[in-house]
């Protein structure tokens, strides 16, 4: 739940990085932590096992700047990716304002990606949230690996689009991050579909990490206006 605090002149929003285990969610946060000025971020808190697998969550607060005199502060969370941690994963989604799904591009992780995406939809439904109507972006991580699946294959498996039924939203909407592509478009069958914005990334080197964060933060702020 975003909080617009008129007393402290702050807008606080919660973004959750979701996805399969070892997909790079924590690495995304670690990169943000390393690259932003210490004065604009808080501590990186990790509730992890001794082998550095996320047990409950990682957390990083980041200040992005000021809008109309209000400090915009984003609370970035990751969830534990391993299948059996669903109880804690679901808790982190409480009050979420924006979601980043970090997919592992490797061919042999396709099933884990799909399972995690389905789990995300299921957990959001249990909270009564509609993932297709809130700030949501997909990041295809590990694009540098030789066994990375082609982008088109990942898109069709993980981000095939959902039907747009409201007439007011049935209009061609270009994808501002990828020239020549659209976020909302009409299929040859006549059906209108919308896809989540997507980004390619190599989180260990930082490629695509900030593009992803900027996109989701912007969508969250626009959803408040």
């Amino acid at each position: 739940m975003s909080m617009i605090n008129y007393a402290s002149r702050e807008i606080n929003c919660k973004i959750v990085y979701y996805g399969p285990g070892l997909g790079g969610k924590t690495t995304n946060l670690e990169h943000v932590y390393k690259k932003v000025a210490p004065s604009t971020r808080g501590k990186l808190i990790s509730l992890a096992t001794e082998s550095e697998r996320t047990l409950f969550f990682d957390f990083l607060p980041v200040d992005l700047g000021t809008i109309r005199g209000f400090k915009t502060r984003f609370h970035l969370y990751t969830v534990p990716g391993q299948v059996y941690y669903n109880a804690s994963r679901k808790l982190i989604l409480k009050g979420v304002d924006g979601i980043v799904f970090v997919a592992d591009s490797q061919v042999d992780r396709m099933e884990a990606n799909q399972e995690s995406m389905q789990n995300l939809y299921d957990n959001m439904v249990e909270y009564g949230y509609d993932l297709t109507r809130m700030p949501f972006v997909v990041q295809y991580n590990k694009r540098d690996l030789p066994n990375a699946a082609p982008l088109a294959e990942l898109q069709s498996a993980l981000n095939p689009g959902w039907e747009v039924t409201e007439p007011t939203r049935q209009r061609l909407t270009p994808d501002t991050w990828h020239a020549g592509e659209n976020l909302i478009e009409q299929l040859p069958t006549g059906e209108w579909v919308e896809r989540a914005p997507y980004f390619e990334a190599v989180a260990v080197t930082g490629d695509g990490v900030f593009d992803t964060l900027k996109a989701v933060s912007k969508l969250v702020l626009k959803s408040l206006s």
Binding site: K14, V96, Y129
Partner: protein, 164 residues
Amino acid sequence: MRMPIGASSWSFTEEDYSALTQVLQRFLFDSNARCALLVDRSGQLVTFAGDRPTFDVTAFATLTAADFSANDQLARLIGESDFNTLFHQGEKESMLLADVARRVILVALFDNRTTLGLVRLKMRAIVDELGRLIERSLQRSQLSNPQRQPLLGDVDDEIDRLFQ
């Protein structure tokens, strides 16, 4: 009619701030606790009263919400609907946490200048009052939200500038 999307937004006004702070200050005076914090269930600090904390309050708020959520699940496993108070005892500093209207968590930090019994008693006395104030604030923010329009209407340019 738009479908519900995600979590709603909460506009927290100066008026909310002063009403809640007054209740917290009265509680601190009565209980002799050092500091009281209100944290929302998604992990954000709402407000605090008393001695300014010397620790990282943002991290504290996040961990408090996680602590409470994890304990809610533990309660359900043993057949309870929730644990509405939690107590963590330290050598010098202790903390007592209480659920407020299932929306926020009240945290009292106290040392050996008072007792758990007194803090618990005084906390119980203000939980309902805080709950009513929080509900009123949330309802107002969801129904009318008069202050939000001028704040975030037509700010696309400013949002774009944040990311340049």
